[in-house]
């Protein structure tokens, strides 16, 4: 019989495993027959059993596979070959069937795994072959090995199998009885299963099958009450897969009117339906569903999000306008968001001509400004603040009625004083236009005079100037405006502006530190001379 199996196994077009999808019934039958006469009896007693085994193959979990395992084992165990003994030891059927209960009804053959691991995959050795055909019938669980190692189960198994070599015979008897019992119960369950196929399974049972990842059928749930019951119980179960299944079943089998009515009542179901629509790229339906559920803000935001990847500016502008009209402007709750989307449209409309003409100017090479400070990238799509910086850099002197005028931008987007100061100073400092900086910070005083005033504080101004590589005399000028003396000292040190450090120390009346500093300075450098000059001044009252 070993040869027999070998024949089917090796001469066939491919090497087959019974658990491959395309194994034919005959092949399967052969595999069964070749190894077990015992089994064969039961097998012919219920010819459809075998058929069921092969057919149900995809469904895996509820097939009678576990019991085939128990059928397979004794035969191999009776064989005296030592390999067989070791095999039944490590995969004793008690362990195997328990493994199946363990929850992994995966139909794979364990021995095949070992063979491959050992590198002797499908060697046509007759003893091994016999073993293999047994193994083919194993619907072993993958957790088998670990179960063997689980001390608790090990203990149990030892109970069953304390001395496998000596009590083989008695155990076999036990097995046969067990087997027969199981076959009986199997037959019963098979019969009822076949009947149940055409009967409505209770909703709980179907859901249990979905939960376990088993094959199920919803087609028997014809009444609306059944469909809703399925949905509600799926929701109560908290399993997303079940909820999704029930929602999509409802959607497919009832009218849109009923579906929406029921969906609105069940926010959890609605969330799952929405997830599905989004993942399935059904965006119009996604947005409609959101609106129907009253989640208009989410719908508007999603519609807006859809416009973002658009590369072409005019297409993007028209999409944004559609979005504004369709979703934002109609909803008073979204008025703030609407104004922001409107701003984004305006900004794009402003950026487009600026970018176009600047790109031409830059390409022509006629502008020294663009030659010295080439544009890093296109202006289009940049944030407002970046656009402001860009305009302060390249178009600082334009009049307010020009598109690229910083002042116009400031007005249009109601940019705060702080923001404007920061951005404009950064840009002008980069161009080393110190006069502009002074102009930005100059305000008219009460009585017609002018004074310097920084909305963000002069310490921050110094930071920006330093970052842009401003020379010491400029730094010194603004350091002198920092009121807090300690802060001024620290800042002066940080930007290494020695004159300002000396001034700060004088203002702090800290002679000790100044002397220390002076000793480190080059006596005849500008700073050194200044420091000694100050130290020699008698009018200062030191601490």
């Amino acid at each position: 019989m070993d040869e027999d199996y070998h024949g089917t196994g090796a001469k066939g077009p491919k090497k087959k495993n019974i658990f491959d999808e395309d194994v034919s019934e005959d092949a399967a039958r052969n595999m069964f027959k070749s190894s077990h006469y015992e089994f064969d009896v039961h097998y012919t007693a219920d010819p459809e059993l075998g058929e069921e085994v092969v057919h149900d193959h995809q469904s895996k979990s509820h097939l009678p596979a576990p019991d085939l395992t128990s059928l397979a084992t004794p035969a191999s165990r009776v064989r005296p070959a030592p390999e067989n003994k070791t095999m039944s030891n490590s995969a004793s059927f008690g362990g195997a069937s328990r493994a199946i209960e363990f929850g992994h009804n995966r139909s794979q053959s364990l021995t095949v795994a070992w063979n491959t691991q050992g590198g002797s995959q499908f060697t046509p050795l007759s003893t091994k072959n016999a073993q293999k055909s047994d193994a083919m019938l194993f619907s072993s669980s993958s957790s088998l090995q670990s179960i063997d190692k689980d001390p608790l189960l090990q203990e149990k198994k030892l109970g069953d199998w304390s001395s496998p070599s000596s009590s083989l015979q008695s155990v076999d008897k036990l097995d046969v009885e067990k087997m027969q019992q199981e076959i009986q119960s199997l037959k019963r369950s098979l019969l009822s299963a076949r009947k149940d196929r055409w009967m409505k399974l209770p909703v709980e049972d179907t859901l249990r099958r979905i939960l376990k990842g088993e094959v199920f059928s919803l087609e028997m749930y014809k009444s609306l009450a059944d469909k809703l019951c399925l949905l509600d119980q799926a929701i109560a179960l908290h399993d997303g897969n079940a909820i999704m299944t029930a929602v999509l079943f409802l959607q497919r089998t009832v009218t849109r009117h009923i579906f929406t009515k029921e969906l609105v009542k069940r926010p959890v179901a609605a969330s799952h339906y929405l997830t599905y629509l989004k993942a399935h790229f059904e965006f119009p339906e996604y947005i409609n569903t959101l609106i129907m559920l009253g989640r208009t803000e989410e719908a508007a935001i999603f519609k807006y999000q859809q416009t973002l990847p658009t590369a072409d500016v005019s297409v993007k502008i028209s999409k944004l306008n559609d979005c504004l009209r369709g979703h934002f402007q109609s909803d008073p709750v979204l008025s703030h968001d609407a104004s922001l989307v409107q701003e984004s449209v305006d900004l794009l409309e402003r950026q487009r001509p600026i970018d176009e003409s600047d790109a031409n100017l830059e390409a022509s090479g006629r502008s020294a400004l663009f030659r010295d400070f080439p544009r890093k990238r296109s202006l289009i799509g940049m944030p407002v603040v970046t656009t402001l910086y860009y305009c302060c850099l390249y178009h600082y002197d334009l009049g307010e009625n020009s598109l690229a005028s910083p002042a116009a931008l400031r007005k249009k987007y109601q940019i705060s004083d702080k923001q404007f100061t920061r951005t404009a100073i950064g840009a002008r400092a980069k161009l080393r236009q110190w006069k502009d900086i002074e102009a930005i910070l100059t305000t008219k005083g009460w009585f017609g005079g002018t004074k310097l005033k920084a909305p963000i504080g002069f310490d921050k101004i110094v930071g920006i100037l330093h970052k842009n590589g401003a020379p010491p005399d400029i730094l010194q000028k603004y350091l002198a405006m920092v009121d807090n003396l300690e802060l001024r000292l620290n800042l002066a040190k940080k930007v290494s502006c020695q004159i300002a450090v000396i001034d700060a120390l004088v203002a702090l009346k800290n002679r000790a530190e100044l002397e220390q500093l002076a000793s480190k300075l080059d006596r005849y450098s500008k700073e050194g001379l200044y420091a000694f000059d100050v130290l020699n001044t008698s009018t200062i009252k030191w601490k």
Binding site: S109, S142, G240, I243, Q305, P383, V385, K418, Q419
Partner: protein, 594 residues
């Protein structure tokens, strides 16, 4: 109880899947599965089991080359199914004959099968599952490595992954015994618990009453976003924030190694030096490392005092190898620390920490907002800004309407209008909200994002009740005695504090208010739980599993390790993924190509 059992189990399961298709086959992997797979089994294992070529599944591939048998190992996503179906249909059209198997990780979903059916490939494929659920990253750390859990469950209110969490807990308990005591903190946690019970009902096979885990805590992420957003202050958490730890692996660039190329390092407790320093407060790092360096120096000095040939042999055989190894590890950690300090120096770290601490104490609100505004105006990283903004909103329980509008406008002006989407997400999660005023309450209820998860966070009341912001004087950073040391004493991670409280009290009585404010606190107790008090009879009761839904940070893990040390219990942390404040915020930011 050895968590490595899980790896063994997964290896066997994967081996079965692979050999179920005999002969050579190609493997196509989802990109987010490569790291976990590498960690669990390794590439060599795949090759040993007949895998010929390994491909990465990418959008836009029309077909793939390779042999006549192919296995797809993928997450169950609709778009992935579409890619696979495209492969199959193109290859069939080209006349290539091939057997296909799709293995979904961790389980198959109805919608995925539906897509395959719709695309007409159902007859050409077999479908299977590989339950890659929890796997160990360290001796006390398990992860699902499923970062999408957060956005799926909390943002989209999709419960698909709840099943995975419940199933992971069920399978863990099948292996290590069913834990008698289960606590759930938060709404999602309760659902996981219920689903877990349903799953147990469906398999009533084990009569076995022995167990290795006594108590399980399931914690909802939305119980506490504050600790997620705080700046980490302990070494491991800082490493994760600065370099990113992926599946326990860290990539140091050449800047850290000081060589031409970077280095990969596995960070687990098996690295003796790392085990010592990972939970250290950053300020204590250098003193420890100095000590360690001295120790190594002493060991090295030994070689000068070797008396006999025997001694020398001994030294070369044992000490030298250890010495070399440890020296290398120590120098890597020292350079990593330096790199972290350098990174922190790049922005106003001090000031942002001060702002963060003030926010947590609910002090100096005006100054805090000025600093945040300044961050926006300076266009510094949107992540840092949003982190502080969210903290401001959470601790103030919402910004005033005027403030919210102004901040939102400024942020959009600085970083782009696409952040309208970012702002919406933050609002939906309750991270950045407007305070309810009469105007907002006039809205029709339905126009708010569905009220399933959005709830009010009661930072102030909770902080007061549980003493989350401790007296700074009482914190010892060198010998930590209080969980808040992970944030320099500025804040105690709420989940950790609550777990500690429950362990000490051994009851939920007295925590009813806290429970209500956290979104629900439930206990299912089958054993008298004496984890901490004297006279514990069952050692397993001292083993506690804490499962974070939606991810946790290393700061929280470190705090839990401190609980374990302080109270003499063993705590195993399990999570859907390990995250950091930056990764968390980054995941919520809308990105566009400029």
């Amino acid at each position: 109880m050895d968590l490595q059992e899980l790896i063994k189990l997964l290896k066997t399961q994967l081996a079965h899947l692979l050999v179920s298709i005999p002969d050579a086959k190609d493997l196509v992997l989802d990109s987010d599965l490569t790291k976990p797979l590498d960690r669990v089994v390794g590439i060599a294992f795949l090759k040993e089991h007949g895998v010929d070529k390994i491909f990465k599944l990418e959008p836009g591939q029309k077909s793939l080359p390779g042999c006549g048998k192919r296995i797809y190992l993928v997450r169950p996503r609709l778009v992935t199914m579409k890619y696979i179906a495209d492969h199959i249909n193109t290859e069939i059209a080209k006349g290539e004959r091939r057997s296909y198997k799709i293995v979904m990780v961790p389980r198959k979903l109805h919608v995925c099968e539906m897509i395959l059916e719709n695309e007409g490939v159902m007859g050409h494929v077999t479908i299977d599952e590989f339950p890659l659920e929890l796997f160990p990253l360290d001796s006390d750390l398990l992860s699902l490595e499923l970062p999408e859990f957060f956005s799926s469950f909390y943002l989209d209110e999709d419960m698909t992954w709840l099943h995975t969490v419940s199933s992971a807990l069920v399978n863990l308990q099948r292996l290590f015994g069913r834990a008698p005591n289960i606590y759930s903190i938060g709404k999602g946690a309760k659902m996981v618990h219920e689903l877990m019970e349903t799953m147990f009902e469906n398999h009533k096979e084990r009569r076995d009453k022995t167990y290795h885990i006594g108590q399980i805590f399931i914690v909802d992420r939305d119980v506490d976003y504050v600790s997620l957003l705080c700046t980490p202050m302990t070494y491991e958490a800082m490493l994760d924030e600065s370099f990113g730890i992926n599946c326990g692996m860290i990539d140091f660039d050449s800047e850290v190694t000081g060589e031409s190329k970077g280095t990969k390092m596995l960070l687990t407790s098996s690295d003796e030096i790392y085990a010592q320093i990972r939970d250290c407060h950053f300020s204590q790092m250098f003193s420890y490392m100095k000590m360690k360096a001295k120790e190594l120096q002493e060991l090295e000095n030994k070689k000068n005092n070797l008396q006999s040939v025997g001694d020398m042999k001994q030294f070369v055989a044992n000490d030298l190898r250890v010495l070399k190894q440890q020296q290398k590890l120590l120098s890597t950690h020292i350079s990593a620390c330096e790199a972290i300090i350098k990174m922190k120096g790049k922005h106003d770290f001090e000031e942002s920490i001060r702002t963060e601490h003030n926010l947590l104490e609910c002090a100096e609100f005006k100054e805090n907002m000025i600093f945040i505004e300044e961050c926006i105006q300076k266009q510094v990283s949107p992540i840092l800004t949003l982190r502080l903004l969210c903290l401001a909103s959470l601790t103030q329980e919402g910004l005033s309407q005027r403030e919210y509008k102004s901040i939102k406008t400024q942020f959009l002006h600085s970083h782009g209008f696409e952040h309208l989407v970012t702002m919406f997400r933050l609002k939906k999660l309750g991270l950045l909200t407007e305070q309810d005023t009469s105007q907002t309450s006039m809205r029709p209820v339905t126009s708010k994002p569905s009220a399933l998860y959005t709830r009010k966070f009661n930072y102030r009341a909770l902080s007061r009740k549980l003493g989350l912001v401790p007296d700074a004087e009482a914190i010892n950073l060198q010998r930590p005695n209080h969980l808040s040391y992970v944030f320099s004493g500025a804040y105690t991670p709420l989940p950790c504090k609550l777990i500690e409280q429950i362990l000490i009290r051994e009851t939920l009585v007295g925590l009813e208010d806290v429970g209500r404010m956290c979104g629900g606190l439930h206990a299912d107790l089958k054993a008298k739980h004496q984890a901490i008090s004297a006279g514990t009879t069952i050692p397993a009761m001292k083993v506690i599993l804490v499962f974070f839904l939606g991810g946790c940070t290393f700061s929280e893990i470190t705090a839990l390790r401190l609980i374990a040390r302080l109270h003499g219990v063993r705590i195993i942390v399990a999570t859907t993924a390990i995250t950091t404040a930056n990764r968390f915020i980054d995941g919520l930011i809308e990105k566009v190509n400029r």
